[in-house]
Symmetry: D2
C-alpha cells in the first residue's frame, strides 16, 4: 500500500514498489485523456451510470443503442480508446508519457507478454467492439482500438507510481508538485464521481458502503483511491473476490477509512 | 430550498416552509429505523447496489431470489417496511414520532388522501410485495406492509423539516442539538453511501457526477442531501425529469455544490 | 394413457380412469371459452408467441406493457380468466359444465383442498395479476380472477375424460359424436397451433421435436395431445422433468408418434 | 409462388423463376448437412427452443454459456457453419453442390456482391461469433466461419429451386424422384419441427397460428414451407413485415392453407 499526500508526504507498507499489471486501473487515465481530447462531448458516446448487473454489459448495449453504460466497463473503455485513436497521432505514446509524468517514474513500461496474450485471446472484448461498431459508436478499425486497449491494460506500475498518478484528482485537477493543470477542476470532480459509482465493477455500492472513496480496481489486484483535497492511495494484493476486486486491497482501504475517518461520507 | 448547518444555522430561499408529500424521501428514515431494529442483519434481506436499469427491479428480484437490489427501490423499501412491522409494536406511530423528532416539528402529519389513493391504486407495489413474499423475503401480511409503506410515503413535511431530519447523517449519527445518538457513526456513514449510489433512482451516477452529495429524492419533488460534517439540505420543486427526480431541485443542488465547492468529490 | 378416435374408438393402458388434478391442462378449455366469448379480440390482450425463457414472464410483461406472451403461461391464463369473469354470469359453473360435456362425464368435479391451497399460497400468481392490472390489462378484482383460475386448475379428471375433452380440436371444432360445433374450424386450428408452440412451458421446441403433436401439459402430470383429423390423447404420470412436463408422459407420446408415424411433421 | 408435389407435379404463379438472395432460408440446408456430419451430437452445441425475444440472442447466449437457442437464429447458424468447417474439406463446395442437387438446378450460384458486402459489414455477426468463441462453442477461426456463413446466405435461387430443395423434408428424408435418402426420416421430422417452432424469427407462434406449416424465411423475401407427405412450397415477395418475414409471402401461405385445409393443425 502507498499513500501520497498533496504536500509531498509518502507512506508505504509492504511491496509498495513491486510493479504489477495495472489492467483496468488504467481506465481512469484514458478517461482523463479522452475528456481532454473531446470534452463533455464524450458523454454523448458513453454514459455515467453504474451497470447494475454483470449481464447488463450486452443487453444494455442492445437497448441503449450501443452507448456503454459508463467508461469503466469494458465496452465503455473501448469507446474511450476509440476516441483516443481518432484524436491522437500516437495514442500509445501519449498514454505512456502521461503515465510516466503522472506517476513521476520514467521507467514505467508495458508487459509485452500480457499485451500480446490479451490481444490474441480476448474474444469477448472483440465481440463487444464489433457489437458497438454495429451501432456506429466505434469508428476506427476494431483491431486498432483493441491494440490500444490491451496496451494500456498491460502497463506495469507499482503502488507508489499509481498513488501519485491520481494525485491530480485529489487536487482539483492540478499536479500538486508543479501546480500545472492536468485537467479542469470540474473534470476532476466528475472523474471522482464516476470512480465512486462505477469504479469497482458490480460492487460499487458495496465499495462505497465499505470504503467510501472514489476508487478504481483492476484484475491485476491493484486499486487506486482518492481522498479529495488530501491524498492519493494505491493498494495491491493479487487475490480477487468474486466481483473481481482485490480482497485484501478492499479490506485495507476499509480499515484505512475507518481508522482515519477519511471516507467522503 | 433549506440549508441547516450542524451549528444551528438555517438559510432558506423560496417556499421552504410549504409542506409537500415527501414520498420516497421517507425511505432514508425507515432505513435508519430498520438498521436500529435489526442491525447489519438487514443486509441479508436487501442489497446495497445500484439497480442499473428500470426494468431490473423485477428481473433482478427473480434472478437474485427475491433480494431487492437496495433499500431505496420500491422492492427494497417494502422489505424495510416488513422489518418494521415485525419489530415495532406500532410502526406508523414510531415512524411519525421519528419524523417529528428529527424534523423538530410536532405538526408533521400524513396526507390521508394521498395515503388512501396510494394504498388503493398501487397494483405494481402489490405485485412486488407478493413476488417477494413468494421467495419468503416478506413475512407479514402484504396488506399490512403496504399500509405502512403508503403511510410513510404520504407524510407531509417542508424543506426545513426535511433538511433538519437528515442532520444526524451529517453529524456521524448524532443529533447536533442534543448530541444524543440517533444511530451509530458507522450506520450514518453507510446510509450516506447508499444514498449516493442508490438515492436518485436510475440517475445515481448522473447525480453523483452533477451534484456529488449523498441525496434521496421523491416523486413529490423533494430531494434531501447531506454534506458530511457540515449540513443537511432540502430542495423542493414539483416538476420531475424523466428519471423521476426534481428537475430544478437537482439544478439547485448542482449550483450549490459548484458555488461552494462542497461536493464530496 | 387413453386414445380416443373421432369414430368413437377408445384404447387405454394403465390407470387411465384414475382421476388427477388437471392443473394447466385446463387452460386449453378456458382459452376455447374465451375465444367463444370475445373472438379474435382476445389477441389484443394476450399474444401467441412462445415465452422463450422462464424469466421472461415478468420482464416480458414489463416490456410488452402487460400483454402476456401467450394464453398458456400463467400471466396469459389470468387474462383469459379475467375475460371469462367479465363475460359469463357464473364462470365456474360454465367451465365445469363445459368440462363435463366435453369429457362426457357428469361426475367431473374440483378438488377443493387443491383449490383452497392454490388460492391461499399463490403469491406469485397474485403478483402477476396485480402487475398486469397495473397496466390495465386485467379489469376485474384480482381475488375474483384468482378464484376462477384456481378453480379450473383444481378440476379432477382422468385420462379418458381429458382425451375426449380435446376431440373437438381434432375434428375442426365439432363434437364428433353429436356433430355440434364447439368452436369454429378456424379457432380449432389456431388453438392447436398455440398448443404446439406454447403448450409445454419452456420446452415447446423440444416437445415439437420429440413428439410432434399439439399438446398441453399440467404440473399434475397430465398431458393432452391432438392428432388433427384423427384422435385425442391423454397421458398421466406424476413425475415431472425439470421443465415441469410429465417425464414418462412425454416419453409415451414420443414412442406413440414414432411407432404410428402420426406426428404432424 | 411455387408448389412442387412429391409425385412430380409443379404449379407456379408470378415470378416463380426469378432468382433472389435466399439469405436465412439456407439455414435449413446447412442444418441438414450438419446433422449428417455429426448427428444428434449437434444438439450439445445448439438448442431447439424458440428464442422468444429479439434481444434474447445475446442475453440468452450469456446465460446459457454460449449455446445458441436454436440453429435458425444467427448465433445458431454460426455454430452450424463452424461444424461444417470442421467436418468438410471444402464446405462452400459441398453446400453449393447440395443446393444444386436438391433444387435440381446446376445453375444455382452465389451473388458475389451480396457475399462481399455481408462479409465486410456484418459487425453484429462478427460480435456473435467472437462471443460464442469466448465460451469455446466455436472452434474455427472467426473469419473462416463468417466466410461460409455469408457464402450460403448469398446463394441465389428461385421459388421452384427452393420448393424442390425441401421436398426431402416432405418425403421422410428421401429424394422423391430418385428415392435416395438425403437424411433419415427421424432427422427430417425433427428439422420440420424446428422449422415450425423457430423458422420465422420472433413470429414463429404467429406463423404457426396464421399458416400452420413448417417454414423458414429469409430477409431476401423468400419463405420455404413443407406439407409433410405431400409437397414443398416457396413464396417470394421482397417487402418484409416488422419481424423480418415476407409480408405478402406469409399472406399467400395463409390463404393457401385456408383454401386447401393443408395446415398441419
Amino acid at each position: 500500500m502507498a499513500v501520497v499526500t498533496l504536500d509531498g508526504g509518502m507512506h508505504t507498507v509492504g511491496s509498495a514498489r513491486e510493479p504489477f499489471s495495472i489492467q483496468s486501473v488504467s481506465k481512469v487515465h484514458t478517461l482523463t485523456l479522452a475528456l481532454e481530447a473531446v470534452g463533455d462531448a464524450l458523454w454523448e458516446r458513453v454514459g455515467r451510470e453504474p451497470s447494475g448487473n454483470p449481464f447488463n454489459s450486452l443487453i444494455q448495449l442492445e437497448y441503449e443503442n450501443g452507448i456503454p453504460r459508463n467508461p469503466f466497463i469494458n465496452a465503455g473503455a473501448l469507446v474511450v480508446a476509440d476516441v483516443l485513436v481518432s484524436h491522437l497521432r500516437d495514442p500509445e505514446r501519449v498514454v505512456l508519457d502521461f503515465m510516466r509524468a503522472r506517476g513521476g517514474n520514467p521507467q514505467i513500461g508495458r508487459d509485452s507478454a500480457v499485451d500480446d496474450r490479451t490481444r490474441r485471446d480476448s474474444h469477448r472484448n472483440r465481440a463487444l467492439a464489433h457489437f458497438i461498431r454495429s451501432f456506429g459508436n466505434l469508428v476506427n478499425d476494431v483491431d486498432r482500438v483493441l491494440a490500444l486497449y490491451s496496451f494500456h491494460c498491460a502497463l506495469r506500475m507499482d503502488c507508489v507510481d499509481l498513488a501519485r498518478s491520481v494525485l491530480f484528482l485529489a487536487d482539483r485537477g492540478r499536479c500538486p508538485s508543479s501546480d500545472d493543470p492536468v485537467t479542469s477542476a470540474e473534470f476532476a470532480t466528475r472523474i471522482n464521481a464516476v470512480m465512486l459509482t462505477c469504479g469497482t465493477y458490480d460492487a460499487a455500492g458495496e465499495f462505497a458502503f465499505y470504503v467510501g472513496l472514489p476508487a478504481k480496481s483492476g484484475v491485476g489486484g491493484g486499486i487506486v483511491a482518492v481522498v479529495p483535497g488530501l491524498m492519493g492511495l494505491c493498494v495491491w494484493s493479487p487475490a480477487l473476490d468474486d466481483k473481481g476486486n482485490s480482497l485484501l486491497g478492499a479490506y485495507a482501504l476499509h480499515r484505512f477509512t475507518r481508522m482515519t475517518g477519511l471516507s467522503v461520507f
